[in-house]
């Protein structure tokens, strides 16, 4: 073995020198590419602005130089993310006309997952409504990143036909909740009618997602639709309905929320407390105070907070009069009231 080591030394030197050389070359190339890209973008920016302003329907009518087409696409993609209305529609139309959308749709069929994911992202950035159908198909992709990116892009496109497919991926857990949930929020209140229809789904996961999103996208008149959900068989649906009613206004649901306040499941009690607090239901105060003293941590905290919203003066007095009897959550609530916090 010892005799082989000089040969190993020679091999190491031979391995190290090309590695250093490769790093040097790479560094130079990266720097050159970055400078070139910045230069090209500066050159095509006036073209992009003319397109966005509607002064020039087809800035590529005159042939673009090497790399300028790619630079123009990148600039327009950035603009598409911050613009709305006709400006964005012009950008989408440009990409459709130039064949860029079709090219990205073709790349959605690539064998490599990362290429499919990049294509899914690019389609979303281009904001072309024509891409909605292919992106919905990507929600079934075997790769998690492709599904996640497709969900995000569907949110960007604003196509309400994507509501039910997005709810399904959320219910199945096949795309990250933060990403797919946000995509649904991006679709706006126009998604509510579809979500209301999904309240009748046989799958409790779908109903739970629909309830949560109605709570975020809906308005006060949608609260009445969620009251029935407080009687759902699924604890998750009942909990989300309680929280959603807290956001929308629990007026019509107060009686049922009072029943939810004494549910055996702690997270339902906590959610119900939130709703009751926002509704300002004075009848529930005694129950809330009791829960704040003895319930499990999260439920007790929610109950104390709700009680503070309903009767701040009373909570402050209870917390100060006998802290050990009041319990830590009412004491904290009393201090917060005293200092005007929350």
């Amino acid at each position: 073995m010892i005799e082989l080591l000089p040969a190993l030394a020679a091999a190491l030197v031979l391995a190290t020198l090309p590695l250093i050389a490769a790093l040097l070359v790479r560094r130079i190339r990266v720097a050159y590419r970055e400078r070139r890209r910045a230069r090209l973008e500066r050159r095509v920016e006036p073209l992009a602005l003319r397109l966005v302003d509607g002064e020039d329907a087809d800035p590529t009518a005159e042939p673009l130089g090497s790399g300028e087409g790619v630079a123009l696409a990148e600039v327009l993609t950035r603009y598409a993310q911050v613009l709305n209305g006709t400006a964005r529609a012009r950008i989408a139309e440009f990409f459709e006309r130039s064949g860029a959308v079709a090219e990205q749709e073709r790349r959605l069929r690539s064998r490599r997952a990362w290429r499919r994911a990049i294509a899914a992202k690019t389609l979303g950035d281009m904001r072309s409504p024509a891409a909605s159908g292919p992106l919905v198909s990507c929600l079934d992709d075997e790769d998690a990143a492709v599904r996640s990116t497709a969900a995000r892009s569907l949110g960007n496109l604003g196509d309400l036909d994507a509501v039910e497919p997005l709810v399904n991926v959320l219910a199945d857990g096949t795309a990250p909740h933060a990403v797919a949930g946000y995509a649904l929020l991006e679709l706006g209140s126009g998604a509510v009618p579809t979500l209301v229809g999904l309240l009748e789904s046989e799958r409790e996961e779908v109903r739970a997602v629909a309830v949560e999103l109605i709570g975020r996208l809906g308005c006060a008149r949608d609260a009445a639709l969620l009251v029935e959900c407080l009687d759902d068989d699924s604890a998750e649906v009942r909990a989300r309905a309680s929280r959603a009613l807290g956001r929308l206004g629990a007026g019509p649901a107060v009686a049922k929320l009072r029943r939810a306040l004494v549910e055996p499941v702690p997270f339902i009690r906590a959610a119900a407390a939130v709703g009751i607090g926002r509704a300002g239901d004075a009848e529930s105060l005694d129950t809330l105070l009791e829960h704040a003293r003895v319930d499990s941590f999260a439920s007790a905290r929610a109950a104390a907070r709700a009680a503070s919203e309903i009767a701040p003066q009373q909570v402050a007095e209870i917390g100060d009069a006998d802290p050990s009897a009041a319990g830590p959550h009412l004491v904290e609530a009393a201090d917060r009231i005293a200092w005007g916090l929350d």
Binding site: I2, T16, I118, K121, A178, E332, R336, W339
Partner: protein, 485 residues
């Protein structure tokens, strides 16, 4: 005698070949993983998650002991982190300076008796405060109990389902919290802990708690540590994470599912390696229950920390790390070589025992013994050559390869001159510095055997801190702020 020395020489050379050969394999695996990670970055959807109200809220825990110099800026940068919903809980662990007073002045703290869980035992709380100017900030004053104890206290006060431990003197990049939480966003049911990369802030320009210009330290010692950190993080942790046996999430920046930490009883307070020990305990807990889980290293999100610039502080730090490693491995020796614990038991634990814990002693023996033996003619010179190749030359290649990984991945040191300087240091990293840290680690083993405890003092210049502190003015805020005279 001659034969015995030759056998020792062979053992030492074999050790270095095995160690550096393993790291060579790790480097190749890491290259592949980092390339994949970078390819996926363009569609990582970070910006979307930033706006999403569905991102799980996080409690950022900051254990602080006598941090008056920089605590206000640290908290400012933590409150400014780009994340949909988070809170900051500073736990002053019996500070004897004006840590809490400075926070009280800067953030209009008022006394609020914050309700806390009793999930994990910790030293008694003296007082709790909430900021009126930013209610996301909670400050806890407690009796001194050490960093682990302070973290346990913070966990009990945390409102949210995830907790992120951050050292008071580290700087976190603006979107680092989101990046470190990305695995949780993608797989909330399985991911129970993630950690990010630690980089060295010495020499960087820092403005308002953010690194605005990355530069190498002027100090040679600190620059050597920059190279060392590339090897540790870009090679070591990437691969261990891939093998599902990541044993360390840096205490300077780690994200944990609160319920999982509570289930294992929180941080162990009897060790200086509380970060590694917690991670190993989490692994054990989940594997013993047959639960599907992941503990991940994310190479993107960065926290910046100050590296020692003098030998004394460096030595203390490395001795402490070695002690912590030894305490962790010993406490969890039952996982070693046990198939039940998968790659953690069969690969990671034996590796750390052999190469990280015991290995420094073999290394030091080799660095000292072989040249002396060759000079005295006890050992054939071919052993000396073999040793230099196995230990030094191969080590240089690995350092250069780690540098290459940084170059192809994040390339934070974009100036050509700095890249050249790093290359030179990567070459010389194995001519003195590595041997020195080996000595420190052996000393750490001695400390371990002598059951030494405590952290020791670290001399800090302070990264991005105000040169002069304004005098403390103790405003009455409705409660007493304890300051030791």
């Amino acid at each position: 005698m001659h034969a015995a020395v030759e056998i020792l020489g062979l053992i030492t050379i074999s050790y270095f070949l095995a160690l550096n050969g393993t790291y060579l394999v790790f480097t190749l695996l890491s290259w592949r993983d980092l390339s994949q990670h970078l390819r996926r970055r363009p569609f990582s959807a970070v910006d979307d998650a930033l706006r999403s109200p569905f991102a799980p809220p996080i409690s950022v825990l900051v254990p602080a002991y006598n941090e008056q110099t920089g605590i206000v800026e640290s908290v400012r940068s933590l409150l400014a982190l780009r994340y949909p919903q988070h809170e900051v809980v500073v736990v002053s662990d019996g500070s004897t300076d004006h840590t809490v007073v400075r926070l009280a002045e800067a953030y209009d703290l008022v006394p609020v008796r914050v309700a806390m869980r009793d999930a994990i035992a910790h030293q008694p709380v003296v007082q709790t405060w909430v900021s009126r100017s930013d209610p996301r900030l909670t400050v806890i004053e407690k009796r001194n109990g050490g960093k682990a104890d302070a973290l346990n206290c913070g966990i009990c006060a945390a409102r949210y389902p995830y907790v992120c431990s951050i050292d008071a003197d580290t700087l976190i990049e603006e979107d680092a919290l989101l990046r470190v939480a990305k695995p949780v966003l993608e797989d909330p049911d399985r991911v129970i802990a993630t950690g990010g990369i630690v980089r060295i802030a010495n020499g960087c320009r820092i403005e308002r708690g953010q690194v605005t210009d990355v530069a190498l330290p002027r100090s040679r010692l600190a620059t050597l540590q920059v190279v060392e950190y590339f090897r540790a993080f870009l090679v070591g942790r990437v691969v261990w994470s891939r093998l599902r046996s990541l044993m360390i999430i840096s205490g300077a920046f780690g994200l944990f599912k609160r319920s999982a930490v509570e289930a294992v009883g929180g941080y162990w307070t009897e060790t200086v390696g509380e970060d590694a020990e917690l991670v190993v305990r989490l692994h054990r807990h989940m594997r013993e229950r047959g639960e599907d889980y992941r503990i991940e290293f994310v190479p993107d999100p960065v926290c910046w920390t100050e590296a020692p610039e003098d030998f004394r502080t460096l030595g203390r730090q490395r001795r402490r790390w070695q002690r912590g490693l030894g305490e962790t491995l010993w406490r969890h020796r039952a996982v070693t070589a046990k198939p039940r614990y998968g790659a953690l038991g069969m690969v990671a634990a034996p590796f750390f025992w052999l190469f990280e814990l015991i290995g420094p002693m073999i290394e030091v023996l080799g660095y000292v013994g072989i040249p002396i033996a060759a000079a005295l003619g006890i050992l054939d010179v071919k052993f000396l050559i073999g040793f230099l190749v196995a230990a030094v030359a191969l080590g240089m290649l690995l350092s250069i390869a780690a540098l290459a990984l940084e170059e192809i991945s994040f390339r934070r040191h974009s100036r050509h001159r700095e890249a050249a300087r790093l290359l030179v240091y990567a070459i010389f990293d194995n001519l003195g510095y590595r041997q020195l840290t080996g000595l420190y680690r052996v000393a750490g083993m001695v400390d371990l055997c002598r059951r030494k405890s405590g952290w020791g003092d670290m001399r800090r210049r302070g990264i991005g801190r105000a040169a002069e502190l304004e005098p403390v003015t103790e405003r009455p805020v409705g409660g007493s702020v304890a300051v030791a005279e």
